[in-house]
Symmetry: C2
Subunit: 228 residues, 2 copies
Amino acid sequence: MDLKISIRLNEKLFLRDPESSDLGQRIVKYGIEMIHKLGFESFTFKKLGEEIHTTEASIYRYFENKHRLLLYIITWYWSYLEYQVVFNINNLTDADEKIRRVIDLLTHELDDSLGQIDFNHKALYEIVISESSKAYLSKEVDNNNSDMLFKPYKDLCNRIAVLFQEFNSTYAYPHSLASTIIEAAHFQHFFARHLPRLTDINGQLPDQTIQSFLEHLVFATLSQKERV
Amino acid sequence: MDLKISIRLNEKLFLRDPESSDLGQRIVKYGIEMIHKLGFESFTFKKLGEEIHTTEASIYRYFENKHRLLLYIITWYWSYLEYQVVFNINNLTDADEKIRRVIDLLTHELDDSLGQIDFNHKALYEIVISESSKAYLSKEVDNNNSDMLFKPYKDLCNRIAVLFQEFNSTYAYPHSLASTIIEAAHFQHFFARHLPRLTDINGQLPDQTIQSFLEHLVFATLSQKERV
DNA sequence: TCAGTAATGATAGTAAAACTATCATTTAAT
DNA sequence: ATTAAATGATAGTTTTACTATCATTACTGA
């Protein structure tokens, strides 16, 4: 099997489609590497240009600024994750099972069994952990939102919320629970690595522990009989 | 009653203690206003200097850079919140009641019944919502952590974790649950305002809705009999 | 094959951000 | 009254975050 799944992203994310050229693809690929290595704040188009032997000006022809490049990368991740969710829960009948699969996907690095991805998975997942909230925690959030740039995140969130409703149709906060576990999956990883006292992960495998924590939390919450 | 509670913050947060002078206090007070107004990325010491009729150089005598000022502000918030938690659960015997009080504190703007705070509460709370994660989501997190700059956050988290253990001593993830609800309280507010589709808050009072969501989540999670 | 156009490279330049340094002046403390 | 500390005034540096211009290469299609 060698079909190429390409994710079509909102055109407002870029000035010139980076998928359309070799340079564009290098910008994204090595952009991921460098944001991962330097952190978003220290990352600049100048440095990226040097790395891939092009100029700052050329990169600006693809992305308005580095924040847009981050948004592009994170949006790609959300979209790909939604695709993985749909793909992975397909054929499962049990809502319980579907939710477990989703939590598994959320807490582990993207897997690329189909060989779609030609960049560093691990770096991408770590960018998601450390930088993804910066994609929306900005003063431009409302403008970006009007441009539908967060649609992939909302779609992912909604997809998960629907599963929660399937499991328990009376639960009142399916979307909030969905966004909470998406975010929690990321920052529990961050805390596990940098501020472990904010977690209960002591040396064990962080991925598994976070997965168990979230599974317990989600099923307890969805199973709770009306009480509050 | 007119006792002044002053929170002693880690000296590594600043170069000169801003509490110790009029200029220092203005830096913090109007720093909060301006970060709120402009957002952290667009905020600069130059602009703050103009606002309070001093110079960039003078502000640099207090804080190494704007990130340290943010850390100072957020750290102050965590410390004050821990103080509020201790103060508010004092004399409560029921773990259930204590947890409810904590969730109430987490989801609402700081209250200042004792008249301690001489700056804009609302602006501070909104900074916490929009900017607090930037305090630790940086490449300096490990160095900052060695300098104990996150101790107030850890103390707050631990304080809440202890209550969870009091409620259910067999629960395996009290710290992760604590950090999760602290963060969730903030970004559910952010989402409610900017990306409401990521929540189930539709026009109702966001604070109350988030409070109910978190209460349900916490008690369901802590009440769940061993199962997973 | 040749003209045209799209993409990139090379270079230069600007405005603002993020500092650092110096020295004069005001203020407060002994 | 003398001294030290804090602030103000000013100036300067490096880096970031862009924008502009023009030359070169590469591919396109008539």
